[in-house]
Symmetry: C2
Subunit: 314 residues, 2 copies
Amino acid sequence: MTQDNVDKVNAIIEKYGYKRNILASNLALNKKFRFAVFLPKYENIEYWKSQIIGIEKAAVEFGKFGVVLDYFFYDFNAISFKKEIKKVLDFECDGLLFAPIFYEESVQFLNEYQKKNIPVVMIDSNISSNQEHAYVGQDAFQSGYLAGRLSSFAVKNERQILIFKITREIESTSVYKQRIDGFYSFFKDNEGLTNFKFSEVTIKDSGIDQLNLEMFSGINSVFVPNSRAYIVARFLEQNHIKGVRIIGYDLLKENIEYLNKGIIDFLINQRPEEQGYLGINYLYKKMVLQEIVENTHYIPLEIILKENYFPVKK
Amino acid sequence: MTQDNVDKVNAIIEKYGYKRNILASNLALNKKFRFAVFLPKYENIEYWKSQIIGIEKAAVEFGKFGVVLDYFFYDFNAISFKKEIKKVLDFECDGLLFAPIFYEESVQFLNEYQKKNIPVVMIDSNISSNQEHAYVGQDAFQSGYLAGRLSSFAVKNERQILIFKITREIESTSVYKQRIDGFYSFFKDNEGLTNFKFSEVTIKDSGIDQLNLEMFSGINSVFVPNSRAYIVARFLEQNHIKGVRIIGYDLLKENIEYLNKGIIDFLINQRPEEQGYLGINYLYKKMVLQEIVENTHYIPLEIILKENYFPVKK
DNA sequence: GTGAAAGCGCTAACAG
DNA sequence: CTGTTAGCGCTTTCAC
C-alpha cells in the first residue's frame, strides 16, 4: 500500500468509528517508553521530594504499560544545571519532564531540545515563550492575587502590609516576582481598599539573623511569596509578637507547624505531588495512549487553614 | 497441575518478581467490565450533572480497557428509589457506583447487594455502617468545622450567626446535619470565641417566600449547610442588606454569581466531577487492573473565593 | 511493493 | 485433572 492509500483507508476506517485497540497495539509493539526526568536535587527540599513522590507514583502506575523513567538531577546552581543539560541532550528518550528553575539557561536548553522533536512537559514554573511545551503547575500571578484577598479579609481599619522576600543565595525563577505582581494587582483592582499600606524587605536565605524587630513595627500582615513563611513565623513567636496575619506558600513541615499553632494563617498549596504525577501522566497519555492532551494544566489555588489541613496518608 | 502446585508456582513466581502483563491478560480475556451507576436523576441538578460529567470522562478514558457503564436513575423520593433498587439487584455486573441519598433504604439495599459479592463504591455521602464498601467524597463533619473557622475570621466584636437550613421536600441524607455538628464543634473547641451567638432557621425548598427580614435582624454571618446559599444571597441583595458574611457549599452557577458579586464570601467545593471520576476509577483499578485500592478517598475541603474560582474549561 | 505469517503475554477451550 | 493449543488485535518481519 502506498502512503496515499494508507491515508485513504485510515480515513474510511475513522469514518466508520474504528478505534485501534491500544492494549493489543502496545502488546505487539512490546516496547518501553523512556521518559527523562530533569529536576533539581531533592534531598532535604521537601517541595521537590513531594514532586518526586508523585512522579514515582505515576512510574509505578504506568510501569505496567511500559513506562520507564530516568532521572537527571542538578544542584541549585547554573553550573551544575548546564553540566546536566549535556547529559539530557544526549539521552535517547520518548519524553521529558522538566523544571525550568533557571530562566535564561532553561530557555536556551529548550531551544536546543526542540530539535530532538521529543515532547516536553514543564512543572513548577512555566516558560511561556515556548508555547508548544506543556505545563503543569500554578498560575503564579493569580496566586499572588488571591494572597492579596486573603490579607484584606474583614478588615476595616488601617493596615500595614509587609512583603517579606527570603531568597536563595542563587536566585532562580521569577515565580515569586509574579506572585508579588499579582498581590499588588489585587489592591489595584479593589479601589475600595485604600486603607492598605505596603512595604518590602529582602533578605538572603543564609542571613536569617538579619531579621529584626524594626522590620515588623506597625505591621499587621506579612506576605511571604515563597515557601519560607515559617522563618517569619518563628521570629514573631520568639519575640512574642501576636496578631500579625501571615500568608505563605507550600505545606512544608515547618510551615504546618506554625499553621497549627495559629501563627501562620493561610498557606497556598501548590500540590507538588500532584504536579509530578500529572507531569508523567501527560507524557503517558500523549505517548503511550496517543491521546490529544491539554497543553496547560493549572493546579487549583488551594487555600489551607489549620482546619482543612490533613497529612497525606501513605 | 493441582491447585497446590499452582499456588507453589505462583509463590515462586512472585518471589522472583514476576508481574502479570495486564495488557496481555485483558487482551486475552477479551471481556467487558460492566459497572452499574446508581444515582439520583440529574436533570436540572447541577451537582449531579457534574458527577455524571466526571463519570462520563472516566467512561471514555477506561472504555479502551473494556469498561462499560449502565445507568440507573431514581427520582428524589423513596418510592422511585425502591423501584430502581429492584432493577439494580437484578442487573449482572462487575461493580457498582452508588449515591446513598436515602439513609434507611440505602442501608437495606446495601445489605441485600452484599450477597452478590460485587464491589461497591459510594459517592457524595457515606454509609459508615458498611465499612467494607468504598467511599469517595468529603468528610461532612470536618467541612462544617472548617465553615466555623471561616465564619469566625478576624472578628473581635460580638457576632450573631444564623444557620440557615433550606431543605428539600423529602429530606434525604444526614449530610447537612453532620455539617452543622462540625460547625458547632469548631466553636466548642475554640473557647476563646465566646462572642458568638447562634440561631437556626429551617424552611422548605418550595417555600422560599418564607424568607423575611426579621430572620436576619442583627445577623452578621449566615451558614447555609447545603448548596442553596444563593437563596439567602438573593434575598439579602433584593433587600439591600450588606455586610453579612455568607458561607455555603458547591459551585452552582447561582452560587458563583453571588460569589462574584461579593455577596457570598466562601463556598466549600465538593468537587463533584472529581468524585464521579474517582468512583469509576476505583472500580477500574480494582477490577480491571486488579490492584489493591484504598477504601476511603476523602476529597479535600476546597475553599473557593472569588479570587480562586475558575470556570472548568471544557 | 505487497501480502502472509509470526509473535507480543496471556487465557480459555479443548483434547488426552 | 493435566498439558497443549488457538486466538485476543495489533505490529513487524519475511518471503514473494
